[in-house]
């Protein structure tokens, strides 16, 4: 199991550590619900160093990224970030990711920890089509980069103290390379997966100690706290954000997963599975990923069956939890398209009992 550059801080703070995607990660510090509220109302810090980073460089970089990802890379400009996915050539999803455009010949792909090896193998398999040299123009920097997500309504205000470059006014999903806490060339990105704003910062492992300390010093007056993976999951789920391995995987269609908005069928864009997905769209989707609220008392969990009013199994819960901010039991899962509209009545089978639920529009948390 790998440690991140910040593991010693988590252990010093008494975090409950768990193995996650091959990394020794903090699942909670003071308690999941308190940490969740810290991010919704103030500012919290996640160690997300387990995420993977691939550089794509050179004159064919654009063509490569445009081909392997579903979103339209042509819509990016220097300093812009885009949410996207890697279609897998079989109608499913290799992973979801962020695409950073540094300039027209330099892109950074940020992928999920659990999928680094699979994503890398996939990208390497596609590289020859574009003549990219693996290890140079396509480079896996995952073990060299540490990353913190500093999230919450006070995050940018707190982090502004650590840089002379203006960050408080940055647009959502943009980034700058800047000097941060005295460290040069930190990537400062107004991204994150919590729905409460903030930033994600990328640094070399050797700078991790200094930046961790500086972030907590700068945030002290704002009540900054470390946040574990437990709250990361409840925060993203309240937003209806997909989690790879739960809500999307190698067998789920990006269209059925509600990721049509990052699947761009432009004439100029050729990409993996374009024809297949176009056909799927034309034929109509059989299932859709929906969000639902439980009406009866109980909590939906991953893999619990979803049923119709007659008790027939029609799908499965892919994510479920008690949402600390919405103060409700909520979940996501795939249902037949006919039952995917808001207010559709569905039932969740919880330990042999059918609990009433209704489909709702995402996000659950509206801020």
């Amino acid at each position: 199991m790998k440690n991140t550059a910040f593991t010693k801080f988590h252990e010093e703070l008494g975090a409950k550590m768990v193995p996650f995607a091959g990394y020794n990660m903090p699942v909670q510090y003071e308690g999941l619900i308190a940490e969740h509220h810290t991010v919704r109302k103030g500012v919290g810090v996640f160690d997300v160093s387990h995420m993977g980073e691939f550089w794509v460089k050179g004159p064919k970089a654009f063509d490569f990224v445009q081909y392997v990802t579903s979103n339209d890379v042509a819509a990016l400009f220097d300093g812009k970030v885009q949410y996207s996915c890697f279609p897998n050539g079989k109608g499913g999803i290799v992973d979801d990711l962020l695409v950073y455009r540094v300039n027209e010949v330099t892109y950074l792909l940020v992928v999920n920890a659990a999928n680094i090896d699979k994503d890398w193998a996939w990208c390497v398999s596609q590289a020859p089509k574009f003549g990219l040299t693996v290890g140079k123009e396509l480079y896996n920097a995952s073990d060299e980069i540490a990353q913190l997500a500093i999230q919450g309504p006070l995050a940018l205000k707190a982090m502004q103290k650590l840089t002379d470059t203006s960050v408080e006014d940055m647009e959502y999903y943009t980034f700058k390379k800047l000097t941060f806490a005295g460290v040069k060339d930190v990537i400062f990105s107004t991204t994150g997966y919590t729905g409460s704003g903030g930033c994600e910062i990328y640094m070399a492992n050797k700078d991790a100690d200094n930046i961790w300390k500086a972030v907590f010093e700068a945030g002290e007056e704002f009540g900054i706290k470390p946040i574990g993976l437990g709250a990361r999951d409840t925060l993203r789920l309240e937003m209806g954000f997909c989690l790879y391995g739960n809500d999307i995987n190698d067998t789920t269609s990006p269209l059925e997963a509600g990721l049509g908005w990052i699947t761009k069928f432009n004439d100029k864009k050729e990409f993996v599975d374009k024809a297949f997905l176009l056909q799927q769209k034309a034929e109509g989707l059989k299932h859709k990923l929906v969000g639902f609220e439980l009406i009866d008392k109980g909590i939906p969990r991953q893999h619990y069956p979803i049923c119709n009013a007659e008790g027939t199994h029609i799908g499965e819960v892919t994510s479920g939890t008690m949402g600390p901010s919405v103060n409700m039991a909520v979940g996501m899962g795939y249902v037949p398209t006919a039952l995917s509209k808001a207010d559709s009545e569905i039932y969740i089978e919880v330990r042999g009992k059918l609990l009433k639920a209704k489909v709702v529009k995402l996000p659950f948390y509206k801020g």
Partner: protein, 129 residues
Amino acid sequence: MKILDTLKYTPNHEWLQLEGDEALVGVTDFAQSQLGDIVFVEVETVGEILEKGESFGTIEAVKTVEDIYLPVSGEILEFNEALNANPELINKEPYEGGWVVRIKVTNPSEVASLLDAVAYEKHVAESAH
């Protein structure tokens, strides 16, 4: 972690406090710390007579759900209704306000098979590794 000398324990981290032929049953401080924030407790067995080791309800934390098992055979007399509105009582005071059910003990000889505080502490130390 708190372990009270006055209670009896199971290896599955329930506690039992004997009061005549009745007893209170809950989960231990260790159990609540492992579960994390508890958000829902469901007991639908009030009035039923259950065997030692049978599940009488469930405890749901944000990320996980666990059955709660009866330390000794008995009739479920009462569910701690305070847990409906405040399930976090189990986190805050697992041995006091966080009790889960009151039972009538039907086979008192089973109590002797439970762990005392010393044996339970040893069990926790071992299961932590």
